[in-house]
């Protein structure tokens, strides 16, 4: 369930930390792929660099860096957990 203040991962900035609430990807194969890569509800992500053209963006998830395109990160909902 997406909470009121959940927003898509694609809106995060470099250095942000993010906790996944929900993966709302309609395509089941792509959804499965993201789960297998470690993008699971409850999981924490650190936002890394954007590629020079702005897409994809690198994410640090469970000890590995994985690049996602906007069409994927747009569907990953959660909240920013920066302690600022």
């Amino acid at each position: 369930m997406a909470e009121r203040n959940d927003c898509p991962l694609s809106r995060m900035k470099q250095g942000d930390r993010f906790r996944i609430a929900n993966i709302a990807i309609p395509d089941p194969v792509l959804r499965r792929r993201l789960l297998d890569l470690g993008f699971v509800p409850g999981g924490e992500i650190e936002v890394g660099q954007k590629s020079p053209l702005g897409d994809p963006t690198a994410y640090r998830v469970r000890g590995t860096t994985i690049a996602l395109r906007k069409e994927e990160s747009n569907y990953i909902y959660g909240e920013r957990i920066n302690n600022d």
Binding site: R32, D36, L37, G38, R62, G63, T64
Partner: protein, 244 residues
């Protein structure tokens, strides 16, 4: 008749040291080619240990068996259709949580598994402690800490392989329980699956794949790739993990 020829599959996430372990085990006795009809490299080698000869296949590194990339299909089909006597799942000691995803998927297909926790030297440097006994109890299959690059733990791994193929270790692979709805659906499907594909395939796992709408698996089952013909070994796969 006791068998002296066994096949081992090496599986694991990318970069967990599978090829390093493969090289340590086989030395120069290896050959590479392509998987039939795929641009995925197939590396195969041989080694002998305590009077047995092992053929070992270095499967492509994957995070999963379900996302239907060519690599994942190769790995999955090898487990399903070539039915190795033993699968060594190599996991990265510094990223266990991530790596256990694949290990659990493999355990749903076969209980003939050894989990080799590699990069123990890296883990030590990072202050990560691995309780392999506890992991072994949870997974229900032998867990052997190794450091492939430093050739540490290889003897223990080999002795565990030996004990497994000779039936001296019985495994009790962790079976993940799903929600009541899914479990009910599995129970409904299982008799049909057994009737259709026989005992050669893991029925529970196939039920899960069907519920997941895995069409690639259906295609593979309808037209299994050519299997190596070999005698089936009697294999103990129940009870609990016993110490060696």
């Amino acid at each position: 008749m006791t068998r002296t020829n066994y096949t081992i599959a090496l599986m694991g996430n990318p970069n967990t040291g599978k090829s390093t372990l493969f090289n340590v085990l086989t030395g120069l006795r290896q050959h590479t080619g392509n998987w039939p009809g795929k641009t995925v490299i197939r590396a195969e080698g041989e080694f002998a240990h305590r009077g047995a000869t092992y053929r070992i296949v270095d499967l492509p590194g994957t995070y999963s068996l379900y996302s239907n990339s060519a690599d994942e299909e190769v790995a999955r089909d090898f487990l399903l259709f070539e039915r190795p006597d033993l699968t060594i799942v190599v996991v990265d000691a510094t990223a266990l949580e991530r790596n256990l995803n694949l290990a659990l998927q493999v355990l749903e297909i076969t209980g003939r598994v050894i989990v080799a926790v590699n990069l123990m030297d890296e883990a030590k440097k990072k202050g990560i402690l691995i309780n392999s006994k506890k992991l072994e109890n949870k997974l229900g299959v032998p867990v052997v800490p190794i450091s492939a690059r430093n050739k540490e733990g290889i003897d223990k791994l080999m002795n565990t392989v030996d004990a497994m193929v000779r039936g001296r270790i019985k495994t009790n692979p962790l079976s993940i329980q799903y929600s009541p709805e899914i479990e009910q659906a599995i129970s409904k499907l299982m008799p049909n699956i057994r009737e259709t594909v026989g005992d050669a395939y893991p029925a529970r796992w196939i039920a899960l794949r069907l519920l997941d709408g895995d069409t690639s698996l259906l295609a593979a089952l309808k037209q299994p790739p050519q299997r190596d013909t070999k005698e089936e070994g009697a294999y103990a796969c129940c009870g609990s993990v016993e110490s060696i």
